[in-house]
Symmetry: C2
Subunit: 391 residues, 2 copies
């Protein structure tokens, strides 16, 4: 089940190592409206810089993605390489290069192996339609251990459109305004401005609310292409069908972002941290992220230890307005802290922590603002993966 009018292709270009398909192409048979969000890291990869310029026109037809090399910190040469890749695809598909978006993920600082990429472009184009979206999702993986796909049907008038999204993680995850690589396709016709606004709204509470290790990547990119192949009246914000589209897109980004956390490097548990009762929205998010990024909290959860003291310490240094003597903390439904002090229910809380999906609820009891952040535990395997993932 993928949206009408999209074709996929994958080839092996041995970008980092041989033995797997690492170059993928997503192609819409017709020009599509496109919207995107990109990393706020000041060090931006060459393809990100290229795409940020192109996206201003709001139109696109192809996305070429490679894994194994981030094409970041590669200077002018990196920009030229990304540009050349777009032009090669445009030439092969006989379209304007401004419609071709380039995305890269992998090691930072190594020049793109153009001598291995160039010879594979014609095969990549030739293969269009022979690969599935699943193949693309697998080709863009780095330290991910499973491909991440979400498909969703949406009733638009009397037609049924489809939104499909794929993404990859799994380290350097603490995005803001975008995360890692995520590509969403739909056959539903959506006006470009509406598409842009809806994507940005959806990301606020999905990709911008997850963290694996607090490290924000140089390559984070989310792109959505709406090619209108469904033939529905163009969706704008004032239309009735907008609500259904918005809801569906939000669900897709939520599920995809959750996949990234579940597949966080070395992760054994998925932890949802909800902060309520904050003085303002910024405080709620800061508090949740401080807890989510605390190595001490993450290792405690890994060790099934209801060490709520580490949560209190993280709240205390998060920079938010708080009063220790007002804070309540729950592990799942077990209240471990009441007004700043222990309830003595550590044993019951330990039972909660033995699960795979852990909920931590914090009520600051100071205001009415809240935020949810998704993270994972910190394990020996995270250390091993990242000590080994050599340049």
């Amino acid at each position: 089940m993928t949206p009408k009018g999209f074709l996929f292709s994958t080839v092996e270009a041995a970008i980092k190592v041989p033995g797997r398909k690492d170059l993928a192409l997503i192609y819409s048979k017709v020009e599509a409206n496109i919207a995107g969000t990109f990393t706020t890291n000041k060090v931006k990869a060459a393809p990100v810089r290229l795409d940020m310029k192109k996206i201003r026109a709001g139109r696109g037809q192809a996305i070429i993605v490679n894994s194994g090399n981030a094409n970041a910190c590669t200077g002018l040469k990196g920009l030229q390489d990304a540009d050349e890749i777009a032009k090669l695809i445009a030439l092969g598909l006989q379209m304007n290069p401004s419609l071709v978006y380039v995305c890269s993920t992998g090691v930072i600082g190594t020049p793109m192996p153009m001598e291995r990429i160039r010879p594979r472009v014609s095969e990549l184009i030739h293969n269009l339609g022979k690969s599935t979206l699943q193949d693309v999702a697998a080709a863009i993986m780095t330290t991910d251990t499973f491909p991440k796909i979400v498909n969703k049907k949406v009733k638009i008038g009397n037609k049924t459109g489809i939104i499909s999204g794929i993404c990859k993680g799994a380290g350097m995850i603490c995005p803001h305004m975008a995360t890692m690589l995520c590509f969403i396709m739909t056959d539903i016709a959506v006006e470009q401005e509406t598409l842009d606004k809806t994507l940005k709204d959806a990301i606020k509470t999905s990709f911008n609310r997850i963290t694996v290790d607090g490290d924000r990547s140089t390559n984070d990119t989310v792109l959505i292409m709406a090619n209108g192949t469904l033939g529905n009246p163009l969706i704008t914000e004032r239309m009735k069908s907008y609500t259904a589209f918005k809801k569906a897109l939000h669900e897709v980004t939520l599920k995809l972002s959750r996949f990234i956390v579940e597949n966080g490097e070395g992760a054994t548990k998925c932890i949802e941290i909800e902060v309520k009762g904050a003085k303002n929205e910024r405080d709620a998010a800061r508090a949740a992220f401080a807890v989510a990024n605390s190595n001490l909290v993450k290792t405690a959860i890994y060790g099934n230890d209801a060490n709520w003291g580490r949560i209190m310490a993280a709240l205390g240094y998060s920079g938010i307005q708080m009063k220790e003597e007002k804070a309540d903390i729950y592990f799942g439904k077990v209240k471990v802290v009441n007004k700043g002090i222990t309830t003595g229910k550590d044993k019951e809380a330990t039972e909660v922590l033995k699960g795979k999906d852990i909920g931590i609820f914090i009520n600051l009891n100071l205001g009415s603002f809240s935020a949810k952040v998704l993270t994972c535990d910190l394990t020996e395997e995270y250390v091993r993966v990242n000590a080994r993932y050599k340049t």
Copy 2:
């Protein structure tokens, strides 16, 4: 070699577990000038709150410290317990309780086992002089693996004074305005205001420039007692002897803070990160801390991987003013990045990383400000220690 007029004592109170001395007393035979800095975490342990009030008067004669329980997040009961401990010591030593400082380190959120502490106080006082400073340094350890002591002689006029300091780490280390527990004693007579200013200056570039895991504790405390037993003319800032005292105190805090990093939980390497060429001092420190707290940088160093891309990414998200195309990065003396791009010297850099003491030098080439931060690598052992250190 310890300063004249100080006596030490340690006993076992089985505060967390039996089998080791975990309660220590530092006593000056005469009232001393005292200065201190404390955690900026909004969640402050009970003894920290107590000491912050007492220190305003600038006078002290005893410090009682326990390890195994932080007496943090313990509410009113915690404050009463800390106060009672000070009063028991004051009663036994026949002094005003305002001269007794209380410090705690260990698990957060568990009430102090007063029933095991109370009965040991008389023995603790009785034993004064039977323990060494080394014994005290050992008694205040938690996950530390070695006691941390620095002794330093200082020529003051024709006399020779001594500054001795002890401290403990080893996790929840990312202090600001103070760190963990550190006690410095000197027999040199120093005016209280001068003592206070000199301590705060020394801490700026020592304890406030180290990080193990980015987690700032609820208990960070640095105290210095100057009892004047040396009999030198009282040191003020205008005196010639001030320079020697200031220099010596700075050296003591630098060495002690370095010990904490070297003994960081699970650490195998000590990493000094120096950022130069920043637009302002705040940027220099922020950049250095962003790199020092990056799990990806820390695991790469652990894996002897010259993965400078992770350093660039950390600089990029640190929030500082920077231009990728101006940045230079060195591992030791090996330049790996020149104006934002690789020099190809990854092999030489890998050799540097095989050492125990790693220097990372970053020149932003934008201004004239610099900062140094000391950190350690992130290893499987850090995860194990913190997954196991149960409440």
